[in-house]
Symmetry: C2
DNA sequence: CCAAAAGTGTTTGCGCTACACCCATGC
DNA sequence: GCATGGGTGTAGCGCAAACACTTTTGG
């Protein structure tokens, strides 16, 4: 059976990822510089067109790998962007994804991947003009990130070896832009049955070592804040 | 500029709506019976293919009108379904919408619209075999509905003239499948600054009239339960 | 022994829960 | 005046917020 109606043709899907890290008291995201048209030379979120034989998540993962060299990133679908003029090539529906990665890996990948310019930017210092509607996607993704960190274990991706409670508290404070009492924070996290002790500890320069924790696999339906 | 890569062609978008009502202690949804292939004769959610020159929400509204005669329905985008075999015609990405409507309107439309068979079904008594992945979409939509009723004013659509607090409580109890204490329910709702008195009241057969309330326009960031 | 950050308990107040009686209306 | 469902107040409990000192380590 052949599609006749022209109104049903020439639609495509963009899969676009916002990869967050938290570093030095700032939320940062990964951007790449586009090397072809449209928006040649503009900074943009990593992403591209979905193949007609691939799942959305697979497409997002593939595009992230092709554009940045990063693999083994856990992404989640979070938004849809459908403005008619998103792309001037043909009608493109944008489907956005969110991921979290530790800063060390982000730095490393930025250097080793030669094929395209890539860098990470503080959320408060993003280039003025981004490709497509990526500025809008970033704003939406940041809001979704704020939800995710309080009701999922997504922050495990920021701390591959586990986090100390002070580190975790700093992360919450940075992303949510809010301060917490240290004792209440510990009590809450330890009392919620959502993290576990890895029996390892971490030492910063010159003081008492702190225990390393990780989020449990299943913490759904629990809200940290 | 012409799209060359075949992998970028032959993708389409389905916009699909789940329209909920609550009636007689049951959650019900609107289904239509398909009158052409694929899935000819199957019950299905109202929906269809997006045009390449229309917004997703506009497409969902249009399809709902074309398939059921219903207009002036407020819909919200809530999910994405991307299985490769969703449709055998071509690759179709399903984008789902949710709406709430009062039972009287649903009954009326079902009768007046002659062009296609339509009916509403209790969520506990849905036809075994639905078209496409619509069973999956319904299950997802019901979960989203449970979220929406506790943190948005979506239930205004179920009560166009306002609701009495006992009516509202019944609705919550039906959808969430949970019981609440009447006094605590009233205290909570009245104390949250999310509903207002319409200065009208409603009388059921033979007893004290109850005040009619409506949700305020902006109740974001407040969770009823 | 000093600096720096980790770790720990108690008190207070507020919001949620549990619970029983009076009120307005139609018939 | 009675049946039906609407409307109201209070006491106890558990969770969250506020708050300051001790411990461990490296230098």
């Amino acid at each position: 059976m052949e599609i006749k109606n022209k109104l049903y043709k020439n639609i495509g899907i963009h899969v676009i990822s916002t990869l967050f890290t938290v570093d030095n008291g700032e939320v940062k995201i990964l951007l790449i510089r586009r090397s072809n048209n449209p928006y040649n030379g503009y900074w943009a979120l990593p992403g591209g067109a979905l193949y007609n034989n691939e799942l959305l998540l697979d497409g997002a993962v593939r595009e992230l790998r092709e554009k940045t060299g990063l693999s083994n990133i856990s992404l989640e679908q979070i938004g849809i962007f459908d403005r008619l003029d998103r792309s001037n090539l043909m009608r493109m529906i944008g489907i956005s994804f969110l991921g979290v990665i530790d800063i060390e890996r982000l730095k490393l990948e930025r250097i080793t991947n030669k094929t395209i310019d890539a860098d990470y930017f503080s959320i408060n210092n993003i280039p003025e003009e981004l490709a497509y509607d990526h500025r809008e996607i970033i704003d939406d993704s940041l809001n979704k990130l704020k939800d995710k960190i309080v009701n999922s274990n997504i922050l495990n991706n920021l701390f591959p070896d586990g986090f100390t409670l002070p580190e975790l508290q700093d992360t919450y404070e940075t992303v949510l832009n809010k301060k917490f009492d240290r004792r209440n924070f510990r009590k809450k996290l330890l009392g919620m049955d959502i993290i576990y002790d890895t029996n390892k500890s971490k030492r910063f320069k010159g003081n008492k070592p702190a225990k390393l924790y990780k989020f449990k696999d299943e913490i759904d339906n629990k809200n940290v804040f």
